[in-house]
């Protein structure tokens, strides 16, 4: 789309897994030209992760790969070989942004550390997304999403039962979080190149992004001042109540009423029981201190009602409670269909498959319907031939040598 917001920004992605691909997808979703570089033969590791239709593994049928790589062009290249690196440099000479998530030592071994990349293109913004970052003692460590998330303090502080293992979200939350931070800072660095005097290295540690903006936000000032810290309780936010997930007749609900009007609304919805009319419970903090008393009483009520009914009645009364929806319920919700968020994408190997639209709507610069993720090496001829002007015989030789 000629009017897309990021039209004209040229991005090269050299990453696999979730963080760098998702960050690059954000650029692609809003109009940037993204070339994804994958290893020949095997490609991005998420091609092997699935989920696959019928659980039958197939390099071109991974749902996660499909989700993370829409709107990109894909090429194969062995960047560990000198000839491959040379071609990568040619791509980077005319690119605005490189998004990568290799470990710092891997990039050094490949001859792709920031000093080398800056030498290729001084205006290049290099966005590196790693579990631990480019500096500090753990920068040489190996890590995955799991390790980054648990290094952030998020799980120990906020998720799990006391005495039992702290929990991740059941998704790649550190990778997604780091990708979001990287997209914002990377785009700012790109837009501000004239002002700051060129490209630069943007160093995102997924663990650090969560340790600061999520965990540190509400805990670090208190610990620095008072020397005490809190940990997960398994029963929701302690500061006030209700602020937890409770079972109901057909599943679970998020019971949440913090501000005075919200609590008042909830009390009405549950029929003004005597216990809830106790005056001291009007104070959100007092309710928090008495959560152990309040939750069983509330649960007696929630167990008699369905989650959607609870959500509707609470919302109507100004109380921000919600149903804990399953993936299916979220996927089938009319709201998300009507907004075009849950949509179908046509893929050459998968056929028509449900997917999720980009995360936000730029109403003044709409984007085209998502193009499917690239097949392995699908755009080699486009990118190497048309963009770099490489001749057919040169391409054939590189193919024979296993470089492409």
């Amino acid at each position: 789309m000629p009017d897309a917001a990021l039209e004209g920004i040229s991005v090269v992605e050299l990453g696999q897994g979730v963080s760098a691909p998702y960050c690059a997808r954000l650029f692609a979703d809003y109009g940037a030209d993204v070339v994804k570089v994958e290893a020949p033969e095997s490609g991005d590791v998420t091609r092997c992760w699935g989920p696959f239709p019928g659980d039958v593994p197939h390099l071109e049928k991974s749902g996660l790969f499909h989700f993370l790589n829409t709107n990109k062009r894909g090429v194969t290249l062995d960047v560990a070989a000198a000839a491959g690196r040379e071609i990568l440099f040619r791509l980077l000479e005319r690119a605005d942004v490189l998004i990568e998530n290799n470990l710092p030592m891997q990039m050094r071994d490949l001859g792709l550390d920031y000093a080398a990349l800056e030498g290729v293109n001084r205006n290049l913004v290099v966005v590196s997304i790693t579990p631990f970052g480019q500096t500090g003692p753990y920068s040489e460590w190996k890590g995955y999403d799991l390790n980054a998330f648990h290094l952030s303090g998020a799980s120990h502080r906020y998720c799990g039962l006391p005495g039992q293992a702290p929990l991740e979200h059941g998704t790649f939350s550190a990778d997604f979080y780091g990708a979001a931070a990287a997209a914002t800072w990377g785009l700012a660095a790109t837009m501000g190149r004239e002002r700051v005097g060129g490209g630069q290295h943007v160093d995102v540690s997924c663990a650090e992004a969560i340790a600061t903006t999520f965990v540190g936000a509400h805990n670090i000032g208190a610990y620095a001042q008072d020397g005490v810290y809190e940990r997960r309780t398994g029963v929701g936010m302690r500061l006030s109540a209700p602020a937890t997930i409770l079972p109901c007749k057909d599943g679970h609900v998020w019971m949440l009423a913090i501000e005075p009007g919200q609590w008042k609304g909830l009390v009405e919805v549950i029929g003004n029981p005597e216990w809830a009319r106790v005056e001291m419970f009007e104070d959100m903090f007092v309710r928090g201190q008495n959560a152990d008393i309040i939750y069983p009483l509330l649960e007696e009520w929630t167990l008699q009602h369905d989650k959607l009914e609870i959500m509707e009645r609470c919302q109507a009364a100004g109380c921000p409670a919600t149903a804990v929806t399953t993936v299916e319920e979220a996927a089938e919700h009319p709201h998300l269909r009507e907004r075009g968020y849950v949509l179908e994408v046509e893929h050459p190997e998968l056929g028509r498959t449900l997917s999720l639209a980009p995360p936000f709507k730029l109403t003044g610069s709409p984007t085209a319907p998502p193009a499917p993720a690239p097949l392995l090496g699908q755009h080699n001829d486009d990118v190497y031939g048309d963009r770099l002007g490489m001749r057919d015989d040169a391409l054939a030789r590189l193919r024979a040598d296993g470089i492409l």
């Binding site: 990021l6 970052g133 059941g170 160093d203 000032g221 001042q225 679970h252 709201h335 998300l336 498959t353």
Partner: protein, 406 residues
């Protein structure tokens, strides 16, 4: 580093409140934008009431949480229930590039600050709206905090222990995530404005943005009709085993270990001194390890139990295994890695006390983020109203007396 920052020259009026709005403003401010929170003593932002307080003194200008979350935002105070306050807000908007807000749809219109009105005073304004479920659709009027928001995305339905009920994330992960990603939306709209001369109204549904994290599970539903259930710390797509958190010596100490590749498994086996159980057929090859992950995790937990978490992480890393300590809040401040990166910093608040907040949560090589302490209510009133908007001393005093500026 004395370099200019990338967003210098961009001015933002931030009507956002509680948490997602602040992190958005903070992000743009770290990057060099001039950001003013529009708030009022007439309705104190809940974040300012959260304990603990500096020195234990309960005061809306002393909430430590607020100062971290709002750091680098400025503050002007206007009671928007008063017409003259709305006029002043519009005068400020006329000098701005961006207006951000995270109310329920319709609240800004109710103030007389809807998108159409903003365009009258600043035709190319970028208005960034971040309600729970977007500006359109049947759920548009839904209210949530970040805590209950995730319930509507499917995400909460698979957080918990295997075969157990959903376990709540006890703080709103959605809020700062949306603050960070919202920054990307604002910048994209600004780039579009720079190239076309046209502003726009960004429709940012917090629900949809957070539901991106459900993507992996969503695709399994799309392809196989399955809805994920609580999976503990297992790999979301069962592509690694072991993949979990295991107990270590000490009070509530744990280590995370993730093994995806065969070489990593061999490294783990070496680190364990090649125990016989690890050679059993049920643990040979990733497929078998994934199938028997329950018993694999039990055996591994029995081994990790006696070790110091950090020492064990070092040892496993030495064998090429992805392992790291599970940190508690105290560790964040004291850990050598975060110290080396300057992750948390001490600043002096405008009211005189020292406090610890987080610094630039992304490191950049060509500029230094503009990290300033959280604002006192109305700390930028004189600068904004007198210098930017040219309000006379006499009128300013009257506006303060009449609690328009309040």
């Amino acid at each position: 580093m004395e370099n200019a920052r990338p967003l210098e020259g961009i001015r933002v009026a931030n009507f956002g409140w509680v948490w997602a709005g602040p992190v958005l403003g903070q992000t743009l401010a770290f990057l060099g934008a001039e950001v003013y929170k529009i708030e009022s003593r007439a309705r104190i932002d809940m974040m300012r009431t959260l304990p603990p307080f500096d020195g234990g003194v309960r005061d809306p200008n002393r909430s430590l949480s607020n100062h971290a979350c709002w750091a680098s935002n400025g503050s002007v105070s206007l009671d928007l229930k008063k017409p003259e306050a709305v006029e002043l807000a519009l005068e400020l908007v006329a000098t701005c590039d961006v207006v951000a807000e995270n109310f329920v749809p319709g609240v800004m219109e109710g103030f007389g600050l809807g998108y159409a009105k903003l365009c009258e005073v600043k035709p190319d304004i970028v208005m960034f709206s971040m309600p729970t479920a977007g500006l359109t659709g049947p759920l548009r009027d839904i209210r949530s905090y970040g805590l209950s928001l995730t319930g509507t995305t499917g995400l909460d339905s698979f957080v918990g222990y295997v075969d157990g009920p959903p376990i709540p994330m006890e703080q709103a992960f959605a809020d700062p995530f949306n603050g960070l990603l919202g920054g990307f939306a604002v910048l994209a709209a600004l780039r579009h404005r720079d190239r076309t001369g046209r502003g726009q109204h960004v429709d940012y549904s917090q629900q949809e943005a957070v539901m991106q994290l459900v993507g992996p599970a969503f695709m399994d539903y799309a392809m196989n009709g399955r809805s994920a259930t609580p999976m503990g710390n297992r790999h979301p797509l069962a592509a690694a085993a072991p993949h979990g958190v295991f107990p270590c010596a000490g009070d509530d100490r744990w280590i995370s270990i993730a093994v995806a590749e065969e070489g990593e498994w061999q490294g783990l086996v070496r680190a364990m001194d090649d125990p016989e159980w690890a050679r059993a057929a049920e643990f040979v090859g990733l497929e078998q390890r994934v199938r028997n992950i329950g018993s694999l995790h039990e055996r591994l937990a029995a081994w990790t139990l006696g070790f110091d978490d950090r020492a064990l992480a070092e040892r496993l890393q030495g064998e090429g295994v992805a392992a790291a300590p599970v940190m508690n809040v105290a560790d964040l401040l004291e850990d050598p890695h975060y110290r080396a990166r300057g992750t948390f910093i001490e600043v002096r608040h405008p009211l005189g006390f020292k406090e610890t907040i987080y610094g630039a949560y992304v490191k950049t090589s060509r500029f230094e983020a503009d990290v300033r302490p959280g604002p006192a209510i109305g700390q930028d009133n004189e600068h904004v109203f007198k210098e930017l908007l040219g309000v006379s001393d006499a009128r300013y005093r009257r506006l303060v007396d009449e609690k328009v500026i309040y």
